[in-house]
Symmetry: none
């Protein structure tokens, strides 16, 4: 295998193709492979059918050097990954006595009788290496196919991950002579459309085009988390990666400024926690249209209790008038949002009040269409301010967009 | 296309192969396809690379009759699904004037200027049909390739789903001559472990084993939505399906009783809305550990404003004492939960108060470990009641399990 070792992942299981479970194994494997600099160009899913598994394995081995197969190693009749590998490798299945004993012991040590089915798991294609099943009963397999290899792993995530980290990654890397590191960094952005963003950073793309090399940029639209720009560098050391990624991050930040709210796993909630903590501020939130979504998103963040005093979900208008001292009148308005922000700040005795009111739909309210949202914040002695938003989508997407827009409105107010 | 029309799904995006996002689109598509009786034998993922997308499309069309491609239809340089289809279909990309106007209008109607990039989205392979982008700016495509077809859809889930339900499924079925109906019904269950549930319904499974035929049962563990039992029937008419599914639903309900909280898309929120409406009750919620999650989950349901007066997120203890009149003392306790339920009912003037307090983690609180949760409800003249729960997992899963457990606690209190 060369430095461009290509790894492919195949998930086996009819339940995947019926949509009964989400294939998170492949996603996790992708992350691990890219962390160690291995390339994955294709991934597939196939059901529990011998011919189709064999076909999928052969296609994969035609394109790639290494195939990692997840699933189909259990004890029941529909677990046929072993049989499929036996066909692809053109090697008969033989019983491995050591493995039989090992599986038997797993049951006796727990005082349980072993169903005879489980002996199927000791059948392996001749010439295979075995990965011992430390966490379950399904052994993994390493099967050479010419100068390529199949790694067969159980579909149970915890067992699969254990084998990958204990054995598979090292075994693949052992065979890679010379490899580069792939590192990436993701900037998280809110407050600009994908196409506008694309125009803004066109110069950076153009420069990349003129000097094609080891860095790529990609846009990832991620719904209520805004847009992400991923910078990926393929270089020879972690140190070099860090310096290349930092240089691109700086160029992008110079163009984008405060549109960047976070990097990698640092989300909007973390950005607010950070800003509020630094300013010794405390927050209270008045929510109508979002019914507690902003507070609950902040509540997911450990440490938020230092800055979040609480929230009032004034879903019913009477609660706005009685508890937030909103003037009786139209509630889908700048005025109502501003009064809610000031009212909730007083109610909880916080230094900052943030408020949202609007129409989630499906019906009009006060003659305003779904998607009409007013956000407001009241910070210390500053004049409270508000903004009107027109948000797209159905009830749930309006609520989610309203929540992150309000958080971003507060973030920008705290920065400026 | 025949009754055995084979549909394949290909997800496009380097971010999928780097493990940065989980491919939930394919899972959702699998569900929809199997619901209408269409077969999906293979699924794949490929990165934003023209040659590899073309290769993956060609492999898919060699095996299957219909290929649904998700992603790569955006306005930016790395969105190249249109180009790949143009190669596979051997048809040049041409600008569609109507589509240009439509995309232009999407911007002008919102008073925004259209970045010129977006015109790329009006480039379509000659001979394509267009699926109008009702929820976004990326049009979908229907491209005939001989007697097979490619459906190209945006990767943004809400836009993709809209096009599938509005157009793609019908378009595929129109071409299928003769098919049996696969219908399924899913019972949603809370309040019992998977293994206990499995024991309870063993008799129904045994009966199925003795009379194997066109009905299957499956367990689907679905985290914070509890456990689902899916009944699937493959029969010749919708009417027959309905009668078979109803018979099995009755058998299961007879065993499970109130453990069943909903069917199909009828969720815990809908169950509560239903019970509260029927009883002419109004609800107010006091949340500490969940920081608004219960209220926001209820807020997703249209019509909830009839019964939900509001919620108080008393994240800070002072808010519990000042606003909910909780007696100063330990807040991780039955007593505090009960006082919160009564306090929030009084604050909002509702007929019912529901409350949650507990430890989300990662740290201990009042010497109690993360996962310790107290829920309480106060209904009309009944004696308020509370329950202690010990929930597993990290901060976020504790919050989510606490939210649905509290809703189920209220549901059971309203039924009994």
């Amino acid at each position: 295998m060369s430095e461009s070792t290509k790894v492919e992942v195949l998930a086996v299981g009819t339940e995947l193709l019926l949509g009964q479970i989400v294939d998170t194994n492949s996603t996790w494997l992708s992350q691990r492979l890219s962390e160690v600099g291995l390339t994955c160009y294709f991934q597939g899913k196939v059901g529990d059918n011998l011919d189709r598994i064999v076909l999928a394995m052969r296609s994969a081995l035609a394109r790639s050097d290494v195939l990692i197969v997840c699933g189909g190693l259990g004890p029941t009749q529909d677990d046929i990954t072993r049989e499929a590998i036996s066909v692809v490798a053109n090697q008969p299945l033989i019983s491995d006595r050591d493995l039989e004993r090992l599986i038997q012991e797993k049951f006796t040590s727990k005082g349980r009788e072993m169903p005879s089915n489980n002996l199927r798991q000791a059948q392996v294609p001749r010439g295979s290496q075995i990965i011992s099943p430390d966490l379950g009963t399904a052994p993994g397999l390493i099967v050479p196919i010419g100068n390529k290899r199949i790694y067969a792993l159980p579909g149970v995530p915890v067992e699969m991950k254990d084998m990958v980290d204990r054995c598979v990654i090292d075994d693949i890397l052992l065979r890679v002579q010379d490899r580069s590191t792939i590192s990436s960094r993701t900037l998280r952005i809110w407050g600009v459309s994908e196409s506008r963003l694309s125009e803004l950073i066109a110069p950076v793309f153009e420069e990349l085009d003129q000097h094609p090399g080891n860095v790529t940029l990609a846009f990832l639209a991620s719904g209520i988390d805004g847009i992400r720009i991923r910078i990926t560098a393929r270089v020879s050391s972690d140190q070099e990666a860090d310096s290349v990624l930092s240089a691109y991050e700086s160029s992008l930040r110079e163009i984008l400024g405060n549109l960047v709210y976070g990097v990698d796993n640092f989300g909007m909630e973390d950005a607010l926690l950070d800003l509020l903590s630094k300013g010794n501020e405390t927050l209270a939130i008045a929510e109508s249209i979002t019914a507690g979504l902003v507070a609950s998103r902040l509540g997911r963040t450990p440490g938020i209790s230092r800055v979040l005093k609480g929230a009032l979900v004034a879903y019913n208008n009477q609660a706005k008038f009685d508890l937030l001292k909103v003037t009786n009148g139209l509630v889908i308005s700048h005025e109502c949002a501003l009064e809610m922000a000031m009212g909730v700040r007083e109610l909880f005795g916080s230094t900052i009040g943030l408020a949202l009111t609007g129409v989630a739909g499906p019906d009009l309210q006060e003659e305003q269409p779904p998607g009409t949202v007013f956000v407001a914040c009241a910070i210390g002695d500053h004049k409270p301010k508000s903004r009107k938003l027109m948000l797209p989508g159905n009830r749930i997407s309006v609520q989610e967009l309203a929540a992150i827009s309000a958080m971003d409105f507060l973030r920008n107010s705290l920065i400026s």
